[in-house]
């Protein structure tokens, strides 16, 4: 469990280009959470996840890991890095090894695991992200964009982090690639990584995968709670330049038009069920 309290961060402090990225943000990530971190571009999401991952010292605030308080971020950062695996935006740009296998093995090797354990981790991670075995000996630079991304994600997954954070992992993927990735994350959650944080500005992604959602706006954490609750506050989301999932807007429209559908629907499947139920009851 990670607790961040009153975190603040400013880019280029004291310069004309100074920009406040985080303003008094407190966030708790409990074991077993699947959190969707939502926010507009520039709302501070990426800064926040870098602080959670122990990569960026905040200007103010405290962190506690598994109940141990750290007065200094430097000490906390070590613990955070051990526990948290961060997949950056466009992670495929960070591939460097000669083969896919070696690239995935980079993290586990740095963890000083035994050869056998590394081999096991690499193969399991590759299987989990749905990379075919034949690709492991290929150069990562010869793969397709989608495959590269999966290799990069496997590189972090292979470290078996307790908390896995993914920054916009679906950016630039086609719909089927996105579905596959989200399905993959759901499978990882609980059994491979205790906690997953999915950073996204796609409400559809959050609705499909996450259990709770945290909404950032202008460097502040403005909402935090179960996904159903967040998506019931459509007007507030819209005032921040965000929105509810498309299907929720459609169902809300239908309700307004007089159809007695259930409230709080935010996946296409749930909407289909609800409409089916309505149609059957009418017969």
């Amino acid at each position: 469990m990670i607790e961040l309290k009153n975190i603040t961060y400013t880019y280029n402090p004291g310069e004309p280009s100074a920009r406040v990225a985080l303003n008094d943000v407190s966030l708790t990530l409990a074991d077993g959470d699947f959190v969707g971190l939502i926010g507009h571009t520039g709302s501070g999401k990426s800064t926040l996840v870098q602080i959670i991952a122990g990569l960026l010292p905040p200007l103010g605030g405290t962190a506690s890991v598994d109940g141990t308080d750290f007065s200094e971020y430097k000490a906390a950062a070590k613990e955070l890095r051990k526990k948290v695996g961060l997949v950056f935006q466009y992670p495929e740009h960070q591939l460097f090894e000669e083969t896919v296998y070696k690239d995935i093995a980079f993290g586990p090797k740095n963890q000083k695991l035994t050869e056998d354990e590394i081999d096991l981790r690499v193969r399991e991670a590759a299987r989990r992200v749905r990379l075919e075995d034949g690709l492991l000996e290929k150069s990562p630079f010869d793969l397709s964009g989608g495959q590269k991304r999966r290799v990069a994600i496997a590189g972090v997954v292979a470290m078996k982090p307790e908390i896995l954070i993914l920054d916009e992992p679906t950016a630039g993927l086609d719909p089927s690639g996105r579905d596959e990735l989200l399905g993959m994350l759901k499978e990882l959650h609980g059994d491979w990584c205790k906690t997953i944080v999915l950073v996204s500005h796609s409400m559809e992604d959050i609705a499909r995968a996450a259990g709770t959602a945290a909404v950032m706006n202008g460097g502040r954490l403005v909402m935090n709670g179960p996904v159903e609750e967040i998506f019931s506050r459509g007007d507030e989301l819209r005032s921040m330049g965000l929105n509810t999932p498309q299907i929720t807007r459609i169902v809300d429209g239908l309700i307004k038009a007089g159809l007695p559908l259930e409230k709080g629907i935010f996946t296409v499947e749930a909407a289909a069920d609800s409409i089916e139920k309505l149609v059957r009851s009418k017969r």
Binding site: P16, Q50, L55, F88, H93, Q94, L95, F96, F106, Q111
Partner: protein
Amino acid sequence: MLRDITLGQYYNTASPLHAMDPRTKILGVIFYMVILFTASTVWEYALAAIFTVFVIKVSRVPVRFITRGLKPIVIIMLFTLVLNLFMTSGGKELFHWWIFRVTDLGVETAVKMAVRLVMLIMGTSLLTLTTSPIALTGGIERLLSPFRKIGVPSHEIAMMMSIALRFIPILMEETDKIIKAQTSRGADFESGNLIQRVKAMVPILVPLFVGAFRRADELAVAMECRCYNGGEGRTSLRELRFRRVDGGALCACVILTAAMAALKILRMVGVL
């Protein structure tokens, strides 16, 4: 650390120096370098220093931005300082130990060299601090255009420079991100012996190079899509204008340089 490099970082504010024609500033820097390298007596150094301070004041760029550019060259400066201190022969001996001899002439040369380097970096970084990269390359292109006739590809040189300058902050950001990403995967860049540390750079350098080539490719395609085919017949959105203040500033530079040269010549023929 990566943010310490001032080169190619424009400090946006309103000042007479910012408003000047980039050509004036480029020529000014050339004159400034001539002044620095002809200066040899304390008084000449003082004159150059006064000029430097004056220009910095006029630029309205905070001094810490200008001194920040010095950090990366501290090593080079120490190196020249030490080299000049011990390698200069002649003069009165001040200190002698084993093979090391320090003479008063050595101290003088070392200090002068260091001061010269500091002023050189501060003065030249002022050019990029007060001139946006676009204006700068525009100025270079115009200054080089008379040499087109003898085959100097002035437009191409300016275009390459502006692209290079534009890419410095992008690549720095990219490096920062790659370092963080590999740190998150447990990479360690700080411990180990030299060979291990060099090896630890591979996970940074490979993605950085791949990224630079990818960006170059994308940029080339984007430029071709907009029918870019060199400088022939190209016009500028912002025409450069040489105003009275530019003339004045350039005159001042010329006079100062001439004065320095005159002093030097006078000294050489033995009048001073």
